[in-house]
Homo-oligomer: 208 residues x 2
């Protein structure tokens, strides 16, 4: 099972690594980090880079595609190599997935038209600009398209999809091995639970 994890300049590292550390541990998984060119691809803050092992053109038959998000200005939404590759590979995938604003990339490539999808809470409504139906849930599955909410939600998506692909017991093994028994010290991880003024503040800061 070839898993293509897309990298592009300015992606958010945890968006890519969450699905990698879950789906990448399935028996028979062959994860590939892919980008326009092989080599280091800097993350959103530029503090580090993840190394892509293959160019887009070298991986034309992935079974699973994972598209991480990033700050909106960094997203490859315009027609170009990334959207072309997504459109070209999608007919052959078993699952096409995204984390955070990665769903905007899938949507801009025309793959989520008429489909329910989620995204980072700050940018969820932008999905409608591309004909998708925003659904403010943590993981949304519509056919073979699985989208996850912001950043950390890729771990939940990866585990849910692991269960669909390999069965509950294997997915539970993965959860046990990454010791995913979350104990957040606050209950502020969603606009529904965070203090309302904090949610309003971030909407204002980001202009949404």
């Amino acid at each position: 099972m070839k898993i293509a994890i897309l990298l592009y300049p300015g992606f958010t590292a945890l968006d890519a690594i969450g699905p990698y550390e879950t789906l990448g541990r399935l028996p028979g998984a062959e994860p590939y980090f892919v980008a326009e060119r092989p080599g280091p691809v800097r993350n959103d803050s530029g503090h580090t880079a993840l190394v892509a092992s293959a160019a887009l053109e070298d991986l034309t038959d992935p079974d699973v595609v994972v598209v991480p998000g990033g700050p909106p200005a960094n997203l490859p939404l315009e027609p170009g190599p990334v959207t072309e590759w997504l459109r070209a590979t999608d007919p052959g995938t078993t699952w096409t997935t995204s984390v955070c604003t990665g769903s905007l990339i899938l949507a801009a490539a025309g793959l989520l038209e008429g489909r329910r999808a989620t995204s980072h809470w700050l940018y969820l409504e932008r999905l409608a600009e591309y004909g998708a139906e925003p659904a403010g849930e943590r993981v949304v599955t519509d056919g073979k398209y699985v989208t996850a909410a912001g950043v950390s939600a890729g771990i939940d998506m990866g585990l849910a999809l692991a269960g669909r692909i390999a069965g509950d017991r294997v997915a539970q093994s993965v959860q046990l091995l990454i010791e995913y028994d979350p104990r957040p010290p606050y209950d502020a991880g969603s606009p529904r639970t965070a203090p309302a003024d904090l949610v309003a503040e971030w909407r204002s800061v980001r202009g949404v």
Copy 2:
């Protein structure tokens, strides 16, 4: 606030990225990925590499040190550049931290003697070999030493420490921005909650 995130060949990517995406988002944070040499450092599976921006010798005064774990065979436990750097920088840190088996590296460097610490559940008891006191909790704080359980626990540790460093409201902002509202599809993330036969199976596979 200089945050040094240690990389070494064979580290587990999520161990490093969880604390990075939490602590690295604090106001005034200057995260540095450091390794023996700058450049790409391959992860445990070799599917990718994270790029270190600085050599150990170039970052001698971190305020926070984060040590990710990895499979035991990959850990720099023997006396060498990593343990020397940890011992040399530790007196100047405000917080010295680890994720997963990273605590074994801290312990092997002599920094956890007589202290309570946690680790990946499979290797927790090995802390005692280095004079630390194994505590099977998700995040353990003993003085300025903060250790987290396996892999994904680095996110919880990062948020807890974010609160200590920058206050509850800032930590809640970070949690909201990474949308950390976990919804694991299974309750198998700890040896206490996973099916007992699965826990036994992995103990057997790993020989512990």
